[in-house]
Symmetry: C2
Amino acid sequence: EQSPAQGTDTLDIAVIGGDGIGPEVVAEGLKVLSAVTAGQGPKISTTEYDLGARRWHATGETLPDSVLEEIRGHDAILLGAVGDPGVPSGVLERGLLLKLRFSLDHYVNLRPARLYPGVTSPLAVERVAPGGIDFVVVREGTEGPYVGNGGALRVGTPAEVATEVSVNTRYGVERVVRDAFRRAQGRPRKHLTLVHKHNVLTHAGHLWRRTVEEVGAEFPDVETAYQHVDAATIFLATDPGRFDVIVTDNLFGDIITDIAAAIAGGIGLAASGNINPERTAPSMFEPVHGSAPDIAGQGKADPTATILSVALLLDHLGRGEDAARVEAAVAADLAERGSAPRSTSAIGDAIAARVG
Amino acid sequence: EQSPAQGTDTLDIAVIGGDGIGPEVVAEGLKVLSAVTAGQGPKISTTEYDLGARRWHATGETLPDSVLEEIRGHDAILLGAVGDPGVPSGVLERGLLLKLRFSLDHYVNLRPARLYPGVTSPLAVERVAPGGIDFVVVREGTEGPYVGNGGALRVGTPAEVATEVSVNTRYGVERVVRDAFRRAQGRPRKHLTLVHKHNVLTHAGHLWRRTVEEVGAEFPDVETAYQHVDAATIFLATDPGRFDVIVTDNLFGDIITDIAAAIAGGIGLAASGNINPERTAPSMFEPVHGSAPDIAGQGKADPTATILSVALLLDHLGRGEDAARVEAAVAADLAERGSAPRSTSAIGDAIAARVG
Ligand SMILES: CC(C)[C@H](C(=O)O)[C@@H](O)C(=O)O
Ligand SMILES: CC(C)[C@H](C(=O)O)[C@@H](O)C(=O)O
């Protein structure tokens, strides 16, 4: 078990700025982390890891085992974004990002969606009454179609066959479903929606469904619902207020959390935690957005998603009050944002000042 | 090869009304089909097939082989909706709907998304300038995660493992990609977007990507783009005007066509064709919505999606002018719809009168 970091000792953060706007937004996240812990909190100690497209171009390495082992020794990981158009598709995704999630057993991929006052949704106003979007997606992070169990035969010929295998285990589904029930139980509405496609993906779907039913018996006060993934996207676009906690598989979660981000004001605000709830390894916090090479180095990136990811980090490490202060500071900043653009560091400064 | 039905002889339509609101909306589709072909067109001959939840409850049958063979002898199939809450998940989907799509080689699942004047989108007005949503999704219909190649081990025990295998072939991907390019070439913007997730589903994704590149060489005037499925959903919610033709796999297509339906005014307007472009078997036309048992038999269902599916049927059978008349009649009806609800048959009557 890692240090729970609830005392006033040191928080050891492994920092992976990554590529593009990654390092810029991570700098603001760390600024806010320092500000909220200044004085009364733990000391923040950071170790920067040079991982991502730049390292791959220079050395061909994605995540050497020795680096993974060093990272394991930290209390948490803060990641910006990795990738650039010069790296072949899949290399950094499988070799770095998913390798971290799988090796460190981040089975809860936590993605809150909340429409803050002052933020404009692409949905029509009557769809999103104030407070009308406030749910959290618990996306499974270590199974499903993401396991990399695929292959291809006769590649490049007219007889090519390519397969992708979604692997789902009772072990893996049960633990994430239980985590989602716990989270639902801790929220005022106590409502959990399973999103899957059990009418077509019958084997995996029935495993998910049975598991929700059986684990649900431990949480009699939590109400459950089910939506096929296709129907869920309709409700996300027409009536997002119906959702409280959603639990779903790795791929469906990837898709619906991007819709969730879009309707809650955009990917610039969407935070995520890749969580190992038992803390057998450090959890990883990252904005949902990518490295946006087109605006890198210009101080234009919005660091808000990273700062909200820092709030998730604090919460995971048992510092719920600090997390709440960061979130409140972000909410206050968002409420007062005009249309005049501010630089990455100006936004970080403003939020840091509010938590300080 | 089936009768191309371009002359003035008979159009043999296999009709599967199905369950819930299915028979009601199909009746209006047939009403409009008769009206548009009256006088100058072919004779319409229909054969009703009793398939769906009712038959399954009564006999345990989903789609007997003899019925499938009879259906094969028709020029096209018009389907309403099948299913009710009493049928276990997957039984009618795998045993009837997908069995029809797979047996009759409906490899092009065609789903247009168009926001008609007078129709309200759940998106904010500035996202959907008039004419701002007008694209078509070409969803692969006979491969991918829908093939039913999954299984489960140690079901009901803590050691359960359930798999779902997505099977993708060059044969299957190439033919649907070529169809999508042809459709893109026939549209003013000549733009085709591949939607996949090739950074994670690397084997299938790279097959799709290479195929789009290679088939694209035959269509030098068509511009292509690529979006990961998660990013595509963001654009569907924020900037749907960017899409012209989308080609994608069976599961991604299922998901994004429901979002497409939502942003274009709802599932009550979303038409689809399950098309066998070579006409080696009849194609099947159906609204995207389900059987809606809660409003069945009340004359409340909107038959518009079915009527637009009839337009796709006419177009597929080489009767493009009739198809255009049906679509224009629907557009005119939608433009004048007030907020006062009309019955299913009143909507059908109004549209039939306009095409007559
Ligand atoms: C980059 C990619 C591998 C990743 C995913 O698919 O999980 C991303 O889309 C995300 O949602 O964090
Ligand atoms: C009912 C179901 C099998 C079907 C599908 O997943 O294809 C439906 O959602 C659709 O989109 O036509």
